[in-house]
């Protein structure tokens, strides 16, 4: 599935907005939660791979859905995206790590091992999000 040419990737890839200022709820930098900001940090990525890795799964999904639409018609990606949305809602409490098993099965990544399974596994992480803050953020109260 990775043999698509560069042109098709450019057309459907996610735009480079990963580094815009982290606006909080009032439109300004939320220093308490996201730390100090600087123009240099926001304009340029710190590593050439940072953006491409952040958007990798999204870009893959877009490419796959586009191919599927070209082969089978519009109904195929629509049905699959409905299933994706349903599977994405199967989560544990906001501050606990979820296995995302249904989502992995749909994507076909349940029988592959990549760096996201070996390095920085969230299950083994030493810090966790504050339960109250994460739940409030999830419920939109924050």
């Amino acid at each position: 599935m990775n043999t698509r040419g560069l042109r098709s990737q450019l057309k459907d890839s996610v735009p480079v907005t990963g580094l815009c200022p982290q606006a909080g709820p009032y439109g300004v930098q939320d220093s308490l939660r996201r730390g100090f900001s600087s123009v240099k940090n926001e304009l340029l990525p710190s590593h050439p791979l940072e953006l491409s890795e952040k958007n990798f799964q999204l870009n893959q999904d877009k490419m796959n859905f586009n191919t599927l639409r070209n082969i089978q018609g519009l109904h195929a990606p629509l049905k699959l995206q409905m299933e994706y949305r349903a599977a994405r809602q199967i989560q544990r409490l906001p501050f606990l790590p979820s296995s995302n098993l249904a989502l992995d099965t749909l994507r076909g990544t349940d029988d592959t091992i990549g760096f996201e399974d070996i390095l920085n596994d969230p299950v083994l992480s030493e810090v966790m999000g504050d339960p109250h803050i994460m739940t409030e953020y999830k419920l939109g109260v924050l």
Partner: protein, 290 residues
Amino acid sequence: RQRTRPQLLRAENTMLNTSTKTPTGGFSFENTRRNAVLEANLSEKGYSAPNARKTGTTIAGLIFKDGVILGADTRATDDMVVADKNCMKIHYIAPKIYCCGAGVAADAEVTTQMMSSNVELHSLSTGRPPLVAMVTRQLKQMLFRYQGHIGSSLIVGGVDVNGPQLYSVYPHGSYDKLPFLTMGSGAASAVSVFEDRYKPNMELEEAKQLVRDAITAGIFCDLGSGSNVDLCVITEKTVDYLRGYDQPVQKGLREGTYRYKPGTTAVLTKTVTPLTLDVVDESVQVMDTE
């Protein structure tokens, strides 16, 4: 009621961060800016940050009449120092597929281990023995995804339903399919031996000798390769991992000895100064020996 208290204590003891993002796995680029600043500071003073250990290798592969022979030297270097005199550069991927790794040692090791796991999962899912082309495809897709930052060059060789196959994969994701291949810093020396004496459909002993000669050429003519020659012979029926097949370079024996007999140096004068020590404090600690 009693059960909740230790749970609460445990939650207070873990560190809590105040971000609202759910953590994901994979590479973390948080420290790249800090590392860049540290490296700039160090280079101002004239020092440099440590480099990743490269294998500085000669690896080679050859297709002969019944299968594939992979060969490798066994030296791992850390810039100009030999870090490991006897490392294993031929890694297992599947029962009939092996992979030689050159480039950054850690990258080659982790890449081949991940490939081995992926190949096992894939063959369990398809119910068929794996193809060498499948290993090559997964390797090149992964290496292209990381744009050459994973510095491992690999030679994948094995026997599958399509016969003996040999591929080489470069760090940026390109690959070659050829009857004989060499990679690593000693590749030029090794490939010269292959270009001179390779014939299609060679016999086993002749092919083993040729790969041994190619790796030996790399060991003698390249500073980054050395120590022993490892071979791996893969045929349809068997796999022979010959570790330490040849040791062309033996450590030199010392000709003489530098030990001197006691009394060689004459003693001219001797003075003895006793040091008086005063007892300052004395305390007794009773041990509980029950």
